[in-house]
């Protein structure tokens, strides 16, 4: 069944755009309509000016926002030509975006204790989630997996919100040497009784977390990433294979039930 998007097209203007960690930048932009309407886990599709031969928008989820001041912040990993071009969007640069797109995270009723696991730039939409969870009085254990100590992002915000912060690095330069899935496995095996698990990151990581949650009989939400053109349900390029058939990542997701996804 077609899910209709809530996305609109809004003007935006860059306020801050600077390095946040190694190969990761942080952009904060003014867009009151988005700041006031977007929920954690939703995303927007940003027009990146400067190269008419590169026509498509780039989709990003957000980390922090201020509805009163009308700004939204996110962090982006420099992976290709488009994200490198984004680093030239100096404060004052005007652009536009399509959002809020997608469904966002779901907080089940009576949630008291959540396990949140982010890998790499997948931490971004979980920052907004942890803010919302802690505001609702939910106790959060947050596991961040980074490639190396210079790529750890949003640790301050996550601890400031009151979450317990656990860290792994692939190279062992800080925290547990290895993957976030080792920490999450230990936490799930400990006495902590989680009501829900949330995860966003590389697909193999999310698959492992979903399997751990399944084993522990705890519901798990995963935020999927697929190549997409429009972001609002028109192009049907961003499909996710699920037990209930092929779904559209941009309108039916990006957040899916971990039990539902066919990895």
């Amino acid at each position: 069944m077609t899910t209709l998007s809530s996305a609109h097209k809004y003007a935006c203007s860059v306020l801050v755009n600077e390095p946040l960690a190694q190969d990761i930048w942080r952009m904060r932009f003014s867009c009151p309509e988005l700041a006031q309407s977007m929920r954690p886990g939703q995303f927007f599709n940003l027009a990146v000016p400067g190269d008419p031969s590169n026509i498509l928008r780039l989709p990003f989820s957000w980390s922090v926002s201020d509805p009163r001041e009308g700004w939204v912040e996110f962090a982006y990993l420099l992976v290709g030509e488009g994200t490198r071009r984004m680093t030239t969007m100096i404060p004052g640069t005007a652009s536009d975006l399509v959002g809020p797109a997608g469904n966002g995270w779901y907080i089940p009723q009576n949630t008291q204790h959540a396990l949140v696991v982010g890998g790499g730039s997948g931490v971004v939409p979980l920052v907004a989630l942890v803010h919302e969870l802690t505001q609702h009085g939910v106790s959060c254990d947050f596991v961040e997996g980074a490639a190396t100590q210079n790529r750890v992002i949003y640790e301050d915000a996550i601890t400031h919100y009151g979450a317990h912060f656990y860290l792994s690095t692939d190279d062992g330069s800080r925290g547990v040497h290895g993957f976030s899935t080792q920490i999450s496995q230990d936490l799930l095996a400990s006495s902590a009784a989680y009501d829900v698990v949330y995860t966003c990151g590389p697909s193999p990581m999310m698959r492992a977390i979903a399997a751990q949650a399944h084993e522990a009989r705890i519901p798990c939400q995963v935020s999927m990433e697929k190549l997409m053109a429009c972001g609002f349900g028109a192009c049907t390029t961003c499909l996710v294979d699920t037990k209930n058939g092929r779904k559209t990542c941009c309108t039916d997701g990006p957040v899916f039930d971990g039990e539902e996804v066919l990895w």
Binding site: M1, T2, L4, S5, S6, A7, H8, K9, A47, P52, S53, N54, I55, L56, R57, V98, K226, L227, M228, A229, C230, F232, G233, A234, C235, T236, T237, C238, L239, D241, G245, R246
Partner: protein, 308 residues
């Protein structure tokens, strides 16, 4: 105050309030665009192709960005005619009642499947102004471009479908042998033609040595194909007397104007719908501005005004 320009055109007996149409596969079932503008401002909308039964389409990845456009390997994912009508029929009936022509695109893997889908549409879609036969999708193994790339194949599909409806039949053509295939379609009873569909193309990841999409080839669309599409539309306008809808890489009013000048009575906005969801209404306004700049009071005065 500028004099307003009459934008209305006749397209295969359908009165369009303006020449703006949307390319199938880039516009969903139209209602996805209501958040961005009032879709009933458009002359017509062409829906995502639908088949007699639901199609899952191709596996991931289904798109790749390339210089000046994108490749898609969607493969006509659709919920089937019944699914489309159940999901969007009420909305589309409302859109049609506001004077926007709703064009349903018909997909199939074989002549029989085209016929089955068209019969279902004929019965279930009283609000449709016309049907478009997609014999040019490059992303499916059977049907689509596999059938519409020869004059004989195109004739067979159109000839088989022609008796099944009294409403106008449009044929969506690919970028091959366009004059011959256009004549075949018209000989078989097509009331109008639309072109071009995407161009079969490749993009390879030089590190993995694999295609950047799930299949080796995919359909290329976007501004890079516009000059090719204009040339092909011009050739078809010269070859047949039925109306032609020009499609290919339109990003602005000037791009659309070129199609009108070579003789197209309508234009479809495709990939630009993804880039700027409000593109079609913007281009309509830009087209009006262009018509005023040319000193005409009726857009029809500019259709076919190309001098060579």
């Amino acid at each position: 105050m500028v004099n307003d320009v009459s934008m209305s055109v006749d397209f295969a007996g359908i009165r369009l309030k303006n020449p703006l149409n949307t390319a199938s596969g880039t516009f969903g079932s139209a209602q996805q665009f209501e958040n961005f503008y009032d879709v009933s401002l458009l002359g017509a909308v062409t829906l995502k192709g639908a088949s007699a039964v639901p199609w899952e389409g191709n596996p991931q990845p289904r798109m790749a960005e390339v210089f000046g456009g994108m490749l898609n390997s969607v493969g006509l994912t659709n919920p089937g005619v019944r699914g489309l009508v159940a999901e969007s029929g009420a909305y589309l009936a409302g859109l049609a009642s506001k004077g926007t022509a709703v064009i349903c695109q018909v997909a199939g893997h074989s002549v029989e499947e085209y016929k089955e889908a068209l019969v279902l549409f004929e019965e279930l879609a009283p609000w449709a102004s016309a049907f478009e036969l997609n014999i040019s999708c490059p992303n499916i193994a059977k049907g689509g471009a596999a059938m519409g790339s020869t004059p004989e194949g195109a004739f067979e599909v159109v000839n088989a479908c022609r008796p099944l409806t009294k409403r106008p039949l449009i044929v969506k053509m690919g970028p091959v042998r366009v004059q011959e295939i256009a004549r075949s379609c018209v000989d078989a009873g097509a009331n109008a033609l639309s072109l071009i569909n995407t161009i079969s193309a490749m993009s390879i990841d030089i590190n993995t040595h694999k295609s950047r999409v799930a299949r080796p080839t995919a359909g290329f669309s976007g501004p890079a194909i516009h000059p090719i599409a204009v040339r092909m539309a011009w050739e078809v306008c010269n070859a047949v007397d039925v109306p032609v809808c020009g499609i290919g890489g339109i990003t602005c009013g000037a791009d659309a104007a070129e199609f009108l000048l070579v003789g197209c009575k309508a234009v479809s906005i495709g990939t630009e719908n993804f880039v700027d969801p409000a593109a079609a209404v913007r281009i309509l306004e830009e087209l009006k501005d262009w018509a005023r700049s040319q000193g005409v009071s009726d857009i029809n005065e500019l259709i076919g005004a190309f001098e060579c």
